[in-house]
């Protein structure tokens, strides 16, 4: 899905006012995203400045340090958000799922790189236009701020996770947390898709890939999870949660 320029492919969806399908109103993430703050009328304004962008796996949506020319709402797929440290180490700040909003802070520059892990589709909003829209719609800003509060909380939870927990606890918390996020999206299931690789998980939890692999193997041997292609099946969620809570 690479565009000829090598940049993410952007499609102006064209039918802004004569739309029947594909518009914001029909958007499947509308009610779980910041857009839920808007009235049907306001969605028109949003749609007028939106573009659909598609990314193939491993393609970057934006990069750390780059000027933030736009904000994004994910409508399909999963991305990894990471920073590169001066010494070459990589820190995966988190994973962005369907419904997540990227660029909440409306800051000048991106502090992370966002890279697709699976085929991704996002709604792109040009930053200046989006800010203008926000300026005249306090309810949207409120909603953004509310979301930012959630983000902050997530970040703090992650800090707590990284601080003084054993490798086993970290992995358990990661799995349970991911399941909860999927559940909130209405995608509850015993089988947990893991679109990210072991190295991504390791860089997210502050562990090495070997340790992550060993722990996952151990959880499998102890019958808490079952490793399946592309993810894990949670065999004994209760025990996993007990591990995570300790």
């Amino acid at each position: 899905m690479l565009s000829p320029t090598g940049h993410p492919a952007a499609h102006d969806d064209g039918c802004h006012h004569g739309r029947s399908t594909g518009g914001c109103v029909d958007c499947k993430v509308r009610l779980i995203s910041v857009c839920a703050a808007l009235t049907i009328d306001e969605l028109d304004g949003l749609e007028a400045i939106s573009q659909v962008v598609e990314l193939a796996p491993r393609q970057a949506l934006f990069a750390q340090g780059e000027e933030a020319g736009a904000v994004y709402n994910i409508t399909e797929g999963t991305l990894r958000l990471f920073r590169l440290l001066p010494d070459g180490r990589r820190h995966v700040m988190g994973f962005a799922l369907i419904g997540d909003f990227l660029g909440l802070a409306l800051a000048e520059r991106f502090t992370v790189t966002a890279e697709a892990l699976s085929p991704v589709r996002v709604c792109r909003f040009e930053r200046a236009a989006f800010k203008a829209l926000v300026a005249e719609r306090p309810s949207l800003l409120e909603r953004l701020h509310e979301r930012a509060g959630c983000e902050l909380r997530l970040a703090q939870d992650q800090m707590t996770l990284l601080s003084r927990r054993t490798a086993e606890e970290k992995v358990a918390i990661f799995l349970v947390g991911l399941r909860e996020r999927y559940a909130r999206l209405g995608q509850a299931s015993v089988t947990l898709e893991l679109p990210m690789g072991r190295q991504d998980i390791a860089d997210h939890l502050g562990l090495t890939i070997e340790t992550v692999s060993r722990i996952i193997t151990r959880l499998d041997r102890e019958r808490m999870i079952l490793v399946v292609p592309g993810g894990v099946r949670l065999i004994d969620p209760a025990r996993l949660e007990r591990l995570a809570a300790s």
Copy 2:
């Protein structure tokens, strides 16, 4: 400075409109806090709903899980913000300095406990009244959101810090970071006050008190810092920064 009830002492400062000193206009943190977003007139509205609260060291301003009845702006002193984990471990999320705003997210409940490390003075704003004020002043909400963006960034930096860095790097980053925060407040100095104890630093960095103590001793022996009562003197900031950057 304990009130007879055992609760933080609150003084309605009384002279809302006939004020000459002590009002928001003269507030020494006005320009470094969210209040900088307000016009002189708007400060009147803010002042009308503000109370000064004073805390003695070790006294709590609010507690984790408690209903968030108010938001606060720190005008003096330092607090520690921490969470207690189910197993009794404590995670110090961070330290709030003069000018910091507590309750940015305007959430229903506090996610951390805030406890004074030194004599503290804060401006207390009843939450409902503050939200009402925010609702009619978009510039204030913008400012709050901007601050939230900073907070989020700080939290992410802390995540990066906690993830896969050696104990020595963690302590160096902590010291350098604290110095930068003081510097931004116009309190640059070679002597770094450390109102928090070793245990607080340990719980902040995800280390044990023994490790923190050993590292600080080592940095002292290697002539990067000099341990002094109540803090440290930075002897060789450049070398410390190199350690922190690695």
